[in-house]
Symmetry: C2
Subunit: 440 residues, 2 copies
Amino acid sequence: MYFSKSFIPILKNNPTEAKIKSHQLMLRTGMIKQSSAGIYSWLPMGFKVMKKIEQIVREEQNRVGVQEILMPTIQSSEIWKESGRYDDYGEEMLRIKDRQNREMLYGPTNEELITEIFRSSVKSYKSLPQLLYHIQWKFRDELRPRFGIMRCREFYMKDAYSFDISDDEAFYSYNKFFLAYLNTFKRMNLSAIPMAADTGPIGGNLSHEFIILADTGESKIYTDKRIFDVDSSKTTIDKNSLNKLRGDFEKYYSVTDEKFKKDDFEKNVLKENRLQTKGIEVGHIFYFGDKYSKPMNASVDYNGKKEFVKMGSYGIGVSRLVGAIIEAKYDDKNEVMKWPTSVSPYDCAIIPNINKNDKTNLERAVNISKTLIKNNFEVLIDDTEENLSSKIKKFNLLGIPYQIIIGKSFSEQKIEFKEIHKDTIFISIEEIIKILKNKK
Amino acid sequence: MYFSKSFIPILKNNPTEAKIKSHQLMLRTGMIKQSSAGIYSWLPMGFKVMKKIEQIVREEQNRVGVQEILMPTIQSSEIWKESGRYDDYGEEMLRIKDRQNREMLYGPTNEELITEIFRSSVKSYKSLPQLLYHIQWKFRDELRPRFGIMRCREFYMKDAYSFDISDDEAFYSYNKFFLAYLNTFKRMNLSAIPMAADTGPIGGNLSHEFIILADTGESKIYTDKRIFDVDSSKTTIDKNSLNKLRGDFEKYYSVTDEKFKKDDFEKNVLKENRLQTKGIEVGHIFYFGDKYSKPMNASVDYNGKKEFVKMGSYGIGVSRLVGAIIEAKYDDKNEVMKWPTSVSPYDCAIIPNINKNDKTNLERAVNISKTLIKNNFEVLIDDTEENLSSKIKKFNLLGIPYQIIIGKSFSEQKIEFKEIHKDTIFISIEEIIKILKNKK
């Protein structure tokens, strides 16, 4: 793709309305554009990142046996009245009357609707467990939307739901998601730690938040450093292995300020292991038993007896992760972003120095891009006539992790190649391909 | 995937509320579930088909150089007041007040919002053309939603928009979409014909509908049969080649009842070439010049002069295509569906005859599935204990185009293999793989 043909409306300076670095960078590099308060359009650079995140989330859900469906954005109020949450939810719920004057709403979450689908389709415990997810737009009418897509009104979320016959089986489902979440964030090069959490308006008594560290995070966190060394790479999808994994994490004190108690922290964590910092919530899982199945009468036949199913729900903020990754990875002092290779909008940037009457470097760039494209890499060529230093400044913000720079002293055998945050090296195209393949 | 583990809530009989065959089949095979009037959830079988259609649509947009973005579902009323359509749109527009009492709406289409994005980002004619698309949920508050997802309220649509400096350039953009649409429908094994159409609430004076033939179609169509022989396979993306293609189609009389005039039909089409039948609209493209750019002040600098950009818009009903394909391909007399291989929820079904105390055939099925999965095919195994004839009846409805049947007389060298609508053959697994690869 040529930069001049792509729709990347770059801003010269940080927009004054943006208070945190993800919001600043996303506006500045044309990833998003606000359409109204807390509602954004995703332009090509932002869209590509979000789609790659979505695909990783999807693959890790599929891997632990969750099936994908898609529920609508607009729901009827009826099922929310059944669960008792219609009045509870307050003004954050966007309430709508249709032309027939029926009470509808834009779904802020989907416990009710999935329970309705389940109860009308599944009759016997033999069809359990059922694990279902969807990735769909949600709306929460925040009083003060701010921080760009980090605290917006219309947001893109993966929410999954589990249905089981007993607590024991339900914990097994819960732990599958626990593992899937660790793997999901790991693939985005984020170290997310699971923390015991309050359940809030979802309900229930077992819950973990997955938090990534970022100085600009909205939650204070208190944890035992050793939690970062817990290894999930050998965990398999069976009850014992998953139980052990959760146990390994739960050995270490790790909470957000909501649950923080100074005495507990100091009693349970040796001074040298105490870490007190800030983080961003990127996932949240809940177990709430029959909180919805009972009032909504979602039961199965269990050897002639009617049993209410035990449910959990499991969320990942897909659009929010775009911002969270920036908060974790963007060096705003030096104005340098580096996307994890798995979610970068392009695999490699090619930055030729182009003079008005000399297209030699552009042709070199095109030739190199053809070789990379043949090897299945996505490439962005800066074909504009800006000077080289301002091009590089721009690409440092765009954050594509690898740059090929084509200047005066170009040589086919020694191409100028730079991985962001590392030293420039001079290597052949074959060596570049080897590096890109290795990192992908 | 095992049938018993998958979420496919099959109904024994046709649901009485469904009047047309796509609606019947989709409810009966558990592809969708209504959540409220004209609003549906997509269960795994329906979701898989829709996602495959979406991906084909995406690839063909990308191929002609359209860039993907994503606009939100909820829009501000402001921009609709600028274009003058806020009042025009009537009760089909779902109007919403947020907690701050701002007038919002659920987008039924996106001409206004894309124009707003364009005008705030693009300043010079040198950045033209700009071709942008998104695939997003839309809402039209139909007075009488019916026919399942064919005339529903919340629907999934690809809409694209073009911005050009002149009519001539804009026609070039229009024709790129014309070609992309032909290729899109061809990949779904549909013969869609472009027909001159009215422009309705979108506006403008150049417009084509893409119609596929189906006895149950909502539009009457009148056409010269020879239009089916127009060949687009050699068309390339340049002005002359695309112009020729549109000309080749426009040589033949071809209209829906809206534009039908008996005299013209009889004057222009020889008796033996006249075809009068029914069809379903699956795509619609519009050219409307400065209809939106002028009132919304979307202009570019053209050598010091301010020029309003010339715009077109281009829609494909992604969710609607699921139903349209069923209308075109489902033999409801014999209760046999066959999905085009490019959009089938699975590549191959494996149907073993399983007796209560003998799992031999299930093991055979699992072994065959492993070989197919290794070759990148998606496989659905019916591991239930239903009798074989009712399994086959069920799979004929599910419409996976290839079936492997494992009965009493199973032989590794002569596996019973059936392509729907064709005769059963007995071949080896290697030959099966060859056939599946060929058709994919």
